[in-house]
């Protein structure tokens, strides 16, 4: 929130590639429903970057949402549109089971010295394309790799677990409690992994929606155990924003502090690693 225009707009524009640059803002997707019944079901999802949860007041969330269906197939979203404050799209659920809607991005940021001048690595660079964007003769290459995952879950009928099969890339949620089976007053357990490995002693931030109508943030600062599992007792029904950030986080609730980008002058490699995970969870009244 300290940023001012035009820096603000620039920061938001880079939101997907550089979450740390907009850490005062929260990225989120909000489904119209997470638990649905019926045979031919549509759910609409809003996606935005904002301070309050879940209000559209800053920037639309940009990215390419993909839908993973219970049978393992990938679906395209429908009716996607991006407005001034939000992106919106629909998901058509024709199968029974749990769906995952995710915006996933990976990238390499950094810079290098050439001819006495420090030049940035272009946006959109990935580990695979890194070598091709650094010209011959470049020195002091500083890079950091990021993996960002923003996802929501929707269940038609009975919850299934096929969409939780880990990809081994970035931070992922492994359910102990199914994320579409959350009830106020009950305790849910989730495990988090980074590149397929459990994240022990990892900070997990949970904030209930509706910030605008209360004075306190009511943020829950939780920590995973040795096995990377966190327990969350839901105080009341509603939509909750959950964030796990590792590497380079500095803001409140953004995980343990780490050396900023470019702290080490590695000649080529994409380290240090920076990863971010966001999901929105719906908790029902008992």
């Amino acid at each position: 929130m300290k940023l001012r225009t035009p820096l603000l707009a620039a920061a938001a524009f880079l939101a997907l590639a550089t979450p740390a640059a907009v850490q005062a803002h929260r990225m989120w997707m909000l489904p119209s429903a997470t638990i649905v019944s019926g045979d031919d079901v549509w759910v609409t999802i809003d996606a935005a970057v904002s301070n309050d949860l879940f209000y559209f007041e800053h920037q639309p969330l940009r990215g390419d949402p993909k839908v993973l269906a219970p049978d393992g197939s990938t679906l395209e979203v429908e009716n996607k549109a991006t407005g001034r404050y939000r992106t919106t799209f629909d998901v058509h659920l024709t199968q029974k089971g749990t769906y995952k809607v995710a915006i996933v991005s990976e990238g390499v940021m950094g810079s290098y010295m050439l001819g006495g001048e420090r030049k940035p690595i272009p946006r959109g660079t990935t580990t695979a394309t890194l070598a091709s964007v650094i010209p011959a003769g470049a020195t002091e290459v500083r890079t950091s790799e990021s993996a960002n995952r923003n996802e929501v879950f929707i269940t038609s009928g009975e919850p299934t677990n096929t969409v939780f099969k880990p990809t081994g890339k970035g931070i992922e949620l492994i359910p102990v409690t199914h994320p579409n089976d959350l009830v106020a007053g009950e305790t849910a357990t989730f495990q988090f992994t980074l590149d397929g490995k459990p994240m022990p002693e990892q900070a997990v931030t949970v904030i209930p929606g509706g910030i605008r109508y209360r004075d306190k943030l009511n943020q829950m600062d939780l920590k995973t155990d040795a096995a990377g599992k966190v327990q969350i007792k839901w105080p009341e029904p509603g939509m909750y924003w959950l964030n796990v950030t590792t590497g380079g986080g500095r803001g409140p609730g953004m995980g343990p502090g780490a050396e900023g980008q470019g702290a080490s002058a590695a000649p080529a490699g994409p380290a240090p690693r920076r990863a971010n995970y966001v999901t929105t969870l719906e908790v029902l009244a008992p």
């Binding site: 649905v36 019944s37 019926g38 031919d40 269940t155 009928g157 009975e158 089976d181």
Partner: protein, 173 residues
């Protein structure tokens, strides 16, 4: 109510501890009152009646919803009967034989469930809860729990304050 034994019903019966060593034939007589509400927009409530026993899968006995809409569209709001949906509904397919029924108008409705007929299993000895949950379009939701035990039987009553009125259950052999 159509009564046909589908594969689903058979599976549910087999998986349920409710059916082990039945303690004689039982009949549940249930009276559900749906209150007349003076509201600007009234829709008949969706109502689910189900049976719970610790350690056994809950059994749906009756679900009243808009089952006759085209393309099964009435099932869209079944999830609003949310405790039933979580306990039993989400694993069922609709219409469910012997369970699906039309929504009912305000008034008193009598239902009888006989062990071994339709959705009603034979009950083994132990503690049970019969649950009645109602959810109304543009209205509220209410849930009433009626505990009873087998083979003791007897009568249990509960009084709703919103979407349900008096509910009375008599368990007889």
């Amino acid at each position: 109510m159509q009564i046909r034994l589908t594969g689903l019903t058979v599976t549910a019966l087999g998986a349920s501890a409710l059916v082990a060593s039945p303690a004689g034939a039982q009949t549940l007589d249930l009276t559900i009152t749906i209150p007349k509400l003076s509201v600007a927009e009234y829709h008949r409530p969706y109502v689910a009646v189900w049976l719970e026993k610790e350690g056994a899968a809950p059994r749906s006995l009756a679900v009243w919803y808009d089952f006759d809409m085209k393309a099964n569209e009435g099932t869209k709001w079944l999830r609003d009967v949310r405790q039933w949906w979580r306990a039993a509904g989400r694993s069922m397919s609709f219409p469910a034989d012997g369970v699906t029924g039309a929504t009912r108008a305000p008034g008193t409705h009598k239902l009888t469930f006989t062990a071994g007929r339709g959705p009603m299993p034979a009950l083994s000895g132990g503690k049970y809860t019969l649950v009645v949950e109602a959810a109304r379009e543009v209205g509220g939701r209410e849930l009433l729990r009626l505990p009873f035990s087998v083979p003791a039987g007897g009568t249990a009553t509960a009084q709703g304050s919103g979407e349900l009125g008096a509910v009375r259950l008599t368990v007889r052999r």
